[in-house]
Symmetry: C2
Subunit: 492 residues, 2 copies
């Protein structure tokens, strides 16, 4: 899929401009002078890896790649670009899921890489906070926290490349959201360069601050369209000494939700993960992924993977086992396997983490990252397949993931026997629209954790409520009236 350039004209979306003209030679020279040879590149080979998203779905061009090393350099870049209305596409680890960091195909946009801003400016073990620059890679940040006996409780598959700035700008999620929240819950302070070139210094970790609109929350999840996040002050927590993992067989998502409520009461804050996996997904994993085995002797229609974390193994195991025993007695669950050691915990998580890979081996499918209120999740999972089947006979749906967050990965496969790719090319857009419409009916979100980027920009504009779209556009128009920051993304 190629982004479409806007062809040199200035189109208006809402009240902000959609710029597209090549940067002048004078601007490029000024940027080269500012950033030096390590910070400025127009070399096609050097830029190439950063002009395609990691899944290879989006391809773009850039007039130059800018790699500043300081917030002051970022601010100066923005001021220079703002002076002639040149568009800037910020990028961190380039591991996003929705093409949010890929420039368009015009070759007019400037790619602003934050990766060289990779210092951890400070760690305060007593206050349990750390200030990290935008380009710090998540895994490195994990290690830095562990070095002082602390943990940064957000992780995801791309931790080896995802950066703090990108994680903040996409309000990243992961498998520990149930307990610790998404990125915005972990951001104590933020530093960003605004579209007119000023530096917003909101790094001080204030627990209470009622000076008007919360810019920290506004910039978190804004996908670089309102400001370029240059650093964040992040909350850390004590490193856990113990965990307990259980694999449970049960009859339905309703039963899983009821179990989740029992765990809320029985183990409280120790509950860190609650994932559901249907039999079909587990079967696919067992079929396609080497060295996997079923945790339960008797397969169940649905499975729940439960993880508790805390200081003390006994303090976790006792209430967990009591809650699960009561659930067994009450007929709420069919069977339980408790991980006896770290290796068995890892084996359980491998089953969950391999679902996407196994599903790919089963053939092409449309993937949807959606959320609804937690209570409505069983209804969505039960009702959606029938709705889709009525309109698209023979499609097969699979739902798995973060039930505790109301966030499900909802995959739809073409009917058996057809050419899958061709069928999806013909029906995919309408099918996704049907999934998203159902989500919206239930008050849900068409993007639970991946964001909007360029992938969901048009469907957001089509399906979101007029009031919400109006407000998003109004905020963008207010803060970036010239449309310089990440045009073509989100609502650009």
């Amino acid at each position: 899929m190629l982004s479409t350039p806007t062809g040199g004209r200035t189109a208006f979306f809402g009240k902000y401009a959609q710029v597209s003209h090549p940067p002048s030679p004078r601007l490029l020279q000024a940027l080269a002078d500012l950033l030096g040879p390590k910070g400025f590149s127009v070399d096609a080979d050097a830029m190439a890896p950063w002009l395609t998203d990691w899944r290879g779905k989006y391809h773009g061009q850039a007039a130059a790649m800018l790699s500043p090393v300081s917030t002051d350099e970022v601010a100066e870049i923005v001021r220079l670009c703002a002076a002639e209305g040149a568009a800037i596409v910020p990028q961190g680890g380039n591991s996003g899921m929705v093409g949010g960091a890929t420039p368009d195909a015009s070759g007019h946009q400037l790619l602003l890489s934050l990766r060289r801003m990779n210092r951890i400016r400070s760690i305060d073990a007593a206050a349990r906070t750390a200030v990290a620059e935008a380009g710090v890679v998540l895994e490195n940040f994990h290690h830095a926290a562990l070095d002082v006996g602390l943990r940064f409780p957000l992780t995801l598959g791309g931790k080896g490349s995802a950066t703090i700035g990108g994680l903040v700008s996409t309000n990243a999620g992961g498998t520990q959201v149930l307990r610790h929240g998404t990125m915005r819950a972990l951001v104590a302070g933020i530093e960003a360069v605004l579209p007119e070139g000023s530096i917003f210094d909101g790094l001080a970790p204030l627990k209470k601050d009622n000076r008007g609109y919360d810019l920290r929350h506004l910039l978190c999840g804004a996908e670089g369209t309102l400001g370029i996040v240059t650093a964040a002050c992040l909350h850390l927590i004590p490193a856990n000494a113990a965990r307990q993992t259980a694999w449970v067989g049960l009859k339905s998502p309703e039963a899983a939700l009821a179990l989740l409520r029992k765990l809320d009461d029985g183990v409280g804050d120790a509950l860190e993960g609650f994932e559901i996996v249907p039999k079909s997904s587990l079967d696919a994993v067992l079929r396609h992924i080497p060295q996997t085995r079923a945790p339960l002797a008797n397969p169940a229609p649905w499975n729940a993977l439960i993880e508790l974390a805390g200081d003390d193994e006994g303090a976790l195991a006792v209430p967990l086992e009591a809650t699960l025993a009561a659930a067994l007695d009450a007929g709420l669950i069919d069977d339980v396997a408790l991980a006896k050691n770290e290796r068995e915990s890892e084996d359980f998580w491998k089953l969950r983490d391999s679902i996407s890979e196994a599903e790919r081996a089963e053939g092409p499918a449309l993937q949807h990252d959606v959320s609804v209120p937690v209570d409505l999740m069983p209804r969505f999972i039960a009702d959606n397949p029938a709705r889709l089947a009525a309109e698209f006979p023979g499609v097969r749906t699979t739902s798995f993931g973060h039930l505790g967050d109301g966030n499900i990965h909802h995959h739809v496969q073409p009917p058996a026997g057809v050419d899958g790719q061709a069928w999806l090319a013909q029906h995919g857009a309408a099918l996704s629209r049907a999934v998203y419409s159902h989500v919206i009916e239930l008050g849900g979100s068409i993007s639970a954790e991946h964001g909007i980027g360029q992938m969901k920009r048009d469907i957001l504009a089509e399906l979101d409520s007029p009031a919400r779209l109006h407000a998003l556009r109004a905020v963008k128009a207010g803060l970036d009236p010239a449309g310089l920051f990440n045009p073509g993304k989100l609502i650009g």
Copy 2:
């Protein structure tokens, strides 16, 4: 202090209009027709209580008081007013601290009272959420939650009049913020009418939602300048069965902070309150407030009031006593009194809650509600008196309050022997500016929990960073370009 009308002209602050002209007879008639006799009033006596803030510092006039009973009526009011650019001042329980709900003196503004929208639309005990309309009084909401075995963990002195809409719009705090956060942490969803008259329905409690800018967080704390909050979906928690309260004597705010860290480690999430009280404030309470007595035999320079809450008294008492015993052994604290029963807990809290009243009895003082990063709080408390004394010889400062939140109530009394009121009239503004400048140097906030309203509007514009002010004005300009919502407040 009288608000100044802008005298019929349209002044521009930033890029949004500052309107002031009387509403036309046609508009008033349309509003009267829409709302009926219970919802529309121009009666001076009926309006009078709502045209002065509860502390009697701000007085205004209104062209009419509008009291809708539904979100649809609010939306229709806004559309009618927007059509001719009439200004609207939203108001809940009228218990704010900064004049944010008091109209100006022009008599041109329409007072929009949300108090008749007082339904609790639903309580979901399993999901631990409830949807309350803007006009629901906090205390009534507490009772409704307790009726289903749950608790809404935010409370404050004005709970008998403060409303949900006002609490959301001011991002209210209180004494349980340490554990449960300010209002924004408890808001799962929001419904609001936007300045162009559309209804933003964001009530669904989504744990994950990455569809761009977070409007929930944007509206929370916006003081009615961006949208009129009509309802909120709020998180509830299990009602606690037990609490433990301790009064501790110690040498300094540094020691208090060190003790707070020990408690973080020792009792974890059970810690719900951590307030500090200097000897001078305790002495004032014992002097002026009947039926109070010192909790400790030997007075200490500083005191900490500690509260733990949880399911089980023993599970609270054991780690609390162990942590305090270790702190005594280490010389971190001088003395401890543990409340032996509910009455002693209440007695301890009465000492804390009576400080403002006792300080008033000591004579006039300038009060500042400020925050700095928790770690810097001891430094601020230690350094600020000397800074003030250098510029204003003889002034006496008292700092008390929510150390655990980095939020201190910082009171400054005139020098002994002068006419206090006259001295404050002459020096008060400069003195407050000196306090706020110090706060800002430390990265802090000139309003920790009370908001900006009209009281701090000018000092915010004077002292806040240009980048932040620019962003606040840009957001306002984007969402309310005509300046209809609560003009003259925050950054209006």
